[in-house]
Symmetry: C2
Subunit: 222 residues, 2 copies
DNA sequence: TGAGCGCTGTATCGCCGGATACGACCGGGT
DNA sequence: ACCCGGTCGTATCCGGCGATACAGCGCTCA
């Protein structure tokens, strides 16, 4: 049950534009803090484009632990996976802030696609991006080295939510060690230990509570 | 460098039908054993629908280890992720058997989508399925328990490639422990140990070299 | 038929991450 | 000021996985 957090995912404005253009043509919904957009195991055909707010998408495992997939902020799309394949949702989405979203329904989207082939392309590009992120997370999760797992997350955040800084990239998204732990499949203690090590190595700095990831001059990741 | 293996992924015939119908309208390509369909880090816009043969999709990590994402058999789609988002491929696809595939090009697919909105839906459904599989793998990879990781793989295979058997589901796909290890991020020894434990618990049987996964009406695991 | 190879089953050992516990710090609320 | 909840830092202990090595076994092929 992680608490309020900043977004860990978003898309480029160009991609979002296509979805935004449907405002008015589809239902706009508001979710209060704590309200669920959809719940694991249920079947339905809606997916959401988030206009404002913050939605946490996570999987609850059988042993009770929670795996946070992503914190979706403005311009993110969520729920499209299970909306299209008609199978029970594999994740739960909860608004952790008051959220406004466009609700698309796949049972009605066929007509939209017919009318606007660009929408199909935009959707495919979006799901492709998600596929990429998932695959990259997978790549680093197979490793049992926590440093590897945590760096992968930080690098992704540094790409998506960071601003340049004299010593690297300042990551605006603030995550507690607990949250990082639940996203990387490690323990809170290990996150603390590992980030301490990274700091000693000069790969990481903390300033005003923000994490600064040093540019990896040593290699050419991503 | 895992060797020849059986498929670990496929889609339902209904979904495949739409793609198959494009035979003749798009290029058909043949790949010899060992030939690459695409390579990690390169950029191009093609994706493939496999008609026959077997393609191994894997990620080569910086430390040199290989993560096998999937062995794609007939009726599988691969490469669509990086084909659509225009970023460097995150995986490498190699034919491990002589393979015949339909080659789609995203730069030309727009016209196809326009002409046939059903194609867009089929593609979205397909990528959704892939997203689901990736997310489920993720869910189990965050766990450091090898039993968890390995069971997830076996359950997936049991759903996709197994036939009923008096003691459970007989998994046709034959994988060596080494291959299972590289798909689950564990060591070969651990796979052997873990599967031994599962056998003792009666959750697993080996017969004629095939793995039989007991139906989990026994519900309680770990 | 025998040699060689790949796969499976074990054993030993070192290491490191999880569990647990506790203290320091910071901020908000009464 | 005081308390309190949340977060970060650190110590200890234990279990189990990875690395490595080796033995038995069933192939294939000469």
């Amino acid at each position: 049950m992680t608490k309020k957090a900043a977004a860990t995912w978003r898309m480029t404005d160009a991609l979002a534009a296509k979805l935004v253009s449907f405002e008015g043509k589809v239902r706009t919904r508001r979710f209060a803090e704590g309200e669920q957009l959809y719940r694991q195991d249920e079947i339905n055909t809606c997916f959401y484009f988030i206009k404002s707010g913050l939605v946490q998408v996570s999987i609850f495992r059988r042993d009770g632990t929670e795996v946070v997939l992503e914190n979706m902020g403005p311009n993110a799309l969520c729920g499209e996976g299970s909306a299209f394949d008609g199978l029970p949702r594999f994740s739960t989405a909860v608004a952790v802030e008051p959220t406004e979203a466009l609700e698309f329904d796949t049972t009605r989207i066929e007509s939209l696609l017919r009318a606007d082939p660009e929408l199909a392309l935009a959707m495919l590009r979006l799901t492709s991006l998600k596929q990429r992120i998932l695959a990259l997370r997978l790549e680093h999760l197979v490793s049992n080295d926590p440093e590897d797992r945590i760096l992968e997350l930080l690098r992704r955040l540094s790409q998506m939510f960071a601003i340049d800084h004299e010593r690297g990239r300042k990551i605006i998204t603030h995550l507690t060690h607990e949250q990082i732990a639940s996203m990387t499949g490690t323990s809170r203690v290990t996150v603390t230990r590992t980030m301490g090590r990274l700091r000693e190595k000069g790969m990481l700095f903390i300033e005003d509570g923000f994490t600064i990831l040093a540019n990896d001059e040593d290699s050419e990741e991503n």
